[in-house]
Symmetry: C2
Subunit: 356 residues, 2 copies
């Protein structure tokens, strides 16, 4: 297969097994008959599904005996799961057989394996995880990064996140000139940690160059994650993870509270029955598992994490996004943009001493 049209897919490890994922591929194959899929999984489980869906000709199925489990410790999978479908799917990107990998499995393991196998792209200080965050515009999403969770980012890393996030928003959501913002505790100039002010100066300098294809709107607050002020919101992995988990917790709390409210009286029980369709639509929109998907940016290859509970529609859209990333050679494009930044000059002109 031509790497530009081949997508490497780990079809094991999702909550519902390979069934919904193969159904998603069938769905996507009707919409995009040009695509070819390089599948990694247990052949005895997957091959019959491909036959039933008429996908055998579109897929190259490689038998992998082992599967990464949802409760596997990420660090241990690097040693113990090298025969797994997840590992082999990433290896196909490393070897150049495919440009992008998709998995609905264990997020931590996927990140650990991706960094280990694909390494950082040239010039990238630190890779980032970007997610689509439900936003107030109908059927729209904001892009938020980093969700990497472990450590704080410095000003240069935040500036690279801004650049990578803007490219990703353009490709995935069709936002031609995304409005990029830094997450802070207030929108005034004087507020928040010094490092965010350094990053703001740096991002403003990058955005003002011709090459930059985004606008920088400064600082936003946590309330703007779901809002319409910015398209791309940049933060360090620690803060991003806390915000994501807080939003998930809030959504889950409200679902429970709403359910209890609807049990309160006969009228509210009847209301719940009548509202069933609306509530199902609402649940679909706010389901935190849908936000859990994401892409890993800044690696030597593209990796799309579909949510573990993805249904056919969800998985089809994850693979379609992966296809667009492969076709546009997203990884090389981002690496070239990050590499072209004359960071030392930009940093000096932004007025701090990093470039000295």
């Amino acid at each position: 297969m031509d790497p530009a049209s081949a997508i490497s897919i780990d079809v094991m490890g999702a909550d519902g097994g390979p069934g919904p994922l193969i159904a998603g591929l069938a769905r996507l194959a009707r919409k995009r008959p040009d695509l070819r899929f390089l599948l990694f999984g247990r052949a005895d489980a997957v091959a019959p599904l491909l036959r039933r869906r008429g996908l055998t000709d579109k897929c190259d199925l490689r038998d992998c005996p082992d599967v990464v489990r949802m409760d596997d410790q990420p660090a241990r999978t690097l040693r113990e799961r090298r025969q797994s479908s997840m590992w082999c799917a990433l290896e196909a990107v490393k070897s150049g057989e495919a440009r992008v990998a998709v998995s609905a499995g264990n997020t931590g393991a996927l990140l650990a394996m991706s960094v280990f196998q694909l390494r950082k792209a040239p010039g990238v200080a630190r890779p980032a995880i970007a997610v689509h965050w439900p936003a107030e515009r109908p059927e729209e999403y904001n892009t938020v990064l980093d969700m990497g969770a472990d450590i704080r980012a410095d000003a240069l890393q935040l500036a690279q996140y801004a650049l990578m996030g803007a490219e990703y928003a353009r490709l995935s959501l069709g936002q031609e000139t995304p409005r990029v913002a830094l997450l802070n505790v207030g929108t005034e100039e004087l507020k928040g940690p010094e490092i965010l002010h350094e990053a703001a100066a740096l991002i403003a300098a990058i955005a003002s160059k011709d090459a930059a294809r985004f606008s920088f709107i400064g600082f936003v607050e946590g309330t703007d994650l779901t809002g319409d002020r910015a398209d791309v919101i940049v933060t360090d992995g620690f803060t991003g993870n806390v915000a994501l988990k807080t939003a998930e917790g809030t959504a889950s709390f409200l679902r429970t509270t709403l359910r209890d409210a609807f049990r309160h009286s006969w009228a509210s029980r009847l209301a719940a029955l009548l509202a069933f369709t609306s509530l199902r639509r609402l649940r679909k929109r706010i389901d935190p598992r849908r936000v859990n998907g994401g892409v890993f940016l800044g690696l030597g290859g593209a990796v799309v994490k579909s949510h573990g509970s993805a249904d056919a529609i969800g998985f089809a859209s994850a693979v379609e996004l992966a296809a667009r990333m492969a076709e546009s050679d997203f990884t090389a494009e981002v690496a070239s943009r990050v590499g072209k930044l004359d960071i030392s000059h930009t940093v000096r002109s932004a007025g701090n001493d990093r470039g000295a």
Copy 2:
């Protein structure tokens, strides 16, 4: 008035003016006929309200011509609003006339004026803002601090927040031995910034002493803010502010989405009508303005911030909390506990070099 029974109250500056606040005092006066209130506000507006509510005998009303507005810049109010009801209410605590002040006005101005006038309590490295966070237990709340927003906290400050937060949870929510946790990006030992691991060792050492009246359960995640794992969740002011604003944004987003869902069809419109009471109860519980209240801990006097849109019930409960803080001499109690900690010893035994 005896300072132990006098509560200093700024009755101006709330969204709805003094009316709802005076109604709240009338409500509380029936429940707690022993209380006396030292009121600061415009006499021409407030005195008639007191007469109508039969509160004239219970209140000592001091005429203040000026009012801090919701859109005033906090730093400027320190110079320009020294005749305001907010300033004078805090001055009464500073002078010893009252032990605690309550205001429903501009949060930033109240914090700036409180720190300026009351200063830090002896031994406290940095004051903190604590809020009650709606939690999954019915009618229950968790205590989360710091919401101070501006800068990161070090391990010692986080440990003091743990101590102050536990004391506040005991007083305000009646939790005898609160379970205290640190907000992190994972619950495993290895995750998150080094400073949180230092703080964890320090808090564990404090909790293991006889004097400590809380248990330390280690790290929790953003999802646990609304959960039942911990009663008191400690974080730095930056992260706390991002989490609070993210939760507010999520709640607001879900309200909008729910409203839209209910407009979708005739059945869902009918459902919305039937569900009206339940939905109103839900809204009351998740209203972010209710979470916006809080207390300032670690100052040389207690300050309770009621939410700006407080109704009579909400304001009565804020003043009742203030009364309990005054009666238990909460400020002195917390200062004594923080002061008694042999921090240098504790830090050494927690195995880092801060005490060296």
